[in-house]
């Protein structure tokens, strides 16, 4: 039960938790949190499992580094679009039911 | 030498605990900031002192001190900014 394996399990726990939140929460920002934490969980599994009972492996670490940078650009992109969407529609969630082009957001009374 | 280090580190941790206790117990925001910055800086200083003897070479020791210095400056400015923001908030509301 080396540290690597434990952290891989913690990663799995993070993924499960984040997946649960992704289904339940509809607030767009909270979903960005969920997506980030799920990413960190996957990175933990990648490094943890690769180094379990083996020498420290630079390849998954390099991949995770690339992953972190990609994750930050994804978060930045999501935040950008969200803020522009919020500026236009003052809505914080995307309603799933009507996916026609008409009214696809939860209209909030403008303050 | 070992015992001195352990003593210093325990003392540092004690101050950390006191600071956190202060954070939880005090009622208004200003005193809470006060508690945190003061206690933690002192705690960190003791911790660094405790670790200095086991530093591999002088260069690493200087780096430890630099870290302490940076934290000092940063927490000072941070607490000032938070207090400033809170004051503006209260003036804004009242």
């Amino acid at each position: 039960m080396s540290a690597n394996l434990w952290f891989a399990l913690v990663g799995a726990g993070l993924i499960a938790l984040a997946a649960f939140t992704f289904f339940v929460q509809t607030h767009l920002l909270r979903r960005i949190f969920a997506f980030n934490i799920m990413g960190s969980g996957v990175f933990l599994i990648m490094v943890g499992m690769a180094q379990h009972l083996r020498q420290t492996d630079p390849v998954p670490q390099a991949l995770v580094l690339t992953g972190i940078v990609v994750a930050v650009s994804a978060t930045a992109l999501a935040l950008l679009i969200f803020r522009r969407f919020y500026a236009l529609s003052a809505a914080v969630t995307l309603t799933q039911d009507n996916d026609t082009l008409g009214d696809s957001y939860e209209q909030e009374p403008r303050q | 030498m070992m015992y001195l280090q352990i003593a210093l580190i325990c003392l540092g941790c004690f101050f950390f605990i006191v600071g956190t206790l202060g954070l939880l117990r005090f009622n208004d925001a200003y005193s809470r900031i006060h508690a945190i910055t003061k206690a933690d800086n002192l705690g960190l200083g003791l911790l660094v002192l405790g670790l200095l003897p086991s530093a591999v070479n002088a260069f690493q020791g200087i780096k430890l001190l630099l870290i302490w210095l940076l934290v000092l400056v940063a927490s000072a400015t941070a607490s000032y900014l938070i207090a400033h923001y809170l004051k503006q908030q209260q003036e804004g509301d009242v």
């Binding site: 993924i15 992704f22 767009l28 979903r31 997506f35 799920m38 990413g39 996957v42 990175f43 599994i45 990648m46 499992m49 690769a50 379990h52 390849v59 998954p60 991949l63 690339t66 992953g67 990609v70 650009s73 994804a74 992109l77 999501a78 679009i81 969200f82 522009r84 969407f85 236009l88 529609s89 995307l94 799933q96 996916d99 026609t100 082009l101 696809s104 957001y105 | -």
Partner: protein
Amino acid sequence: MNLIPFLLVIPLAWALISLLLPRLPIGPIALLGMLVQSLATALLWRSVQLHGAERYAIGDWMAPLGITLVADGLTVTLLAITALIAMVCAFYALFYLRSHRHEARYFWPLFWFLLASLNGIWLAGDLFNLYVGLELVTFAAVGMVILSANRQTLAAGLRYLYMALLGSIGYLLGVALLYSAYGTLDMRQLAELIEPNWTTHVAMLSISLGLLVKTAIFPFHFWLPPAHGGALAPVSALLSALVVKSSFYILARLWLDVGADVLPVITAQGFGLIGACAIFYGGFKALQQDEIKMLVAYSTVAQLGYLMLVFPLAAGTAPEHSMLAWQGGMLHVLAHALAKSAMFLSVGTLVLAVGSKKIDALAGISTRIPLSLFAFGLAGVSLMGLPPSGGFNAKWLMLQSAIGSGQWHWVVVLSLGSLLTATYIFKVFRVSFDQQAIDSGKGLVKRAPWGMELSALFLAGLAIALGFAAALPVELLSLPEVESSLMEASQ
């Protein structure tokens, strides 16, 4: 001087040019870039046709350590289709963007990044490299969807981005598990090492779920219609024809080429089942739409269902039937790419000319904008799988494979599916022949620029020509690289 890297360098270089020098005349630059790109693709096509598949180690580091690019028959065909459709969409966009000033500024850099990442995915032979390629495709695609920054497209872009990110997380999780289990990221080495155990099954399941989300197959399809329906016409053409296929290509490569003997029959039949649901669900929803672009977007959801039928037909059946299914599936990728991009481009012209996205606003256009409607019709013929078209040949091959391997339920799905497609295609035609609307002269119709009508017609013509000249791509599709894995897989 091998050609493979140039297919990546050219689009990336042109992306930089169009990003850094916006004042240069965009049109000629873009077309020049596309010509060079198509020339390189054609040369690569020729060399692969003559000497068979090529493997290219980047940085001269051998397989497990470095990244290898693989150019076999299927890759080259997909590269050719991408270059072709991208060129026509670029030509179309030159005219289309004249009336969309705001979007034109950042369209071209995103267009080139999209093209570069698509080429990267077709060529990639390394799992993590595919992940970065997928991310690049998604970001460029989301960027292009939200170019016209209004409420609908932003909401659609957000929903697209969130689902795509979830999908790539699933894919990355699978790659992480596979790497920890087999120690290598190279697909060919993985194909030799892979054997069914718990980790592999969970990894392949998570990769499949991730890629299904990105290919918008039935249960995860709801992000596609607003995104493809709301975007600019050339953008939705590129997205529907190529971007959605890139994740399907990876799924097909992983299941049928790399993990052929790990694919349990129930999973393959499961894929077929959700494919069938996609066909019927997409068809019914397309029938109910009153906006033309949403109708075409839902038709994409339905047509993607056909692609999923490749798995049950190719896995666990006799070698010649699985080869037929593989050829049929990949030919459907080509035919649908051509037909759908032609349809989106012609719809773009019609919407621009008529001024509204509603279907009943298109009443009586058969007399005023006949060329675009004719292109829409030809593309419809290929989508419906009526004989002289590429779509028909793909359906024919899949029917042969289904009948040969005795899976009658897929035969029924295939035939009912194309009938359903016919219903919503002819719904549009019924409106366009409506004489009352012509007599009552509903609103004047702006003359659409010739470039737009011709590009749509060219692609539609190609979709029909694929019906006659299907032998060339199909023979190239089933090069030894693919054949060998399918053959020993199904022994």
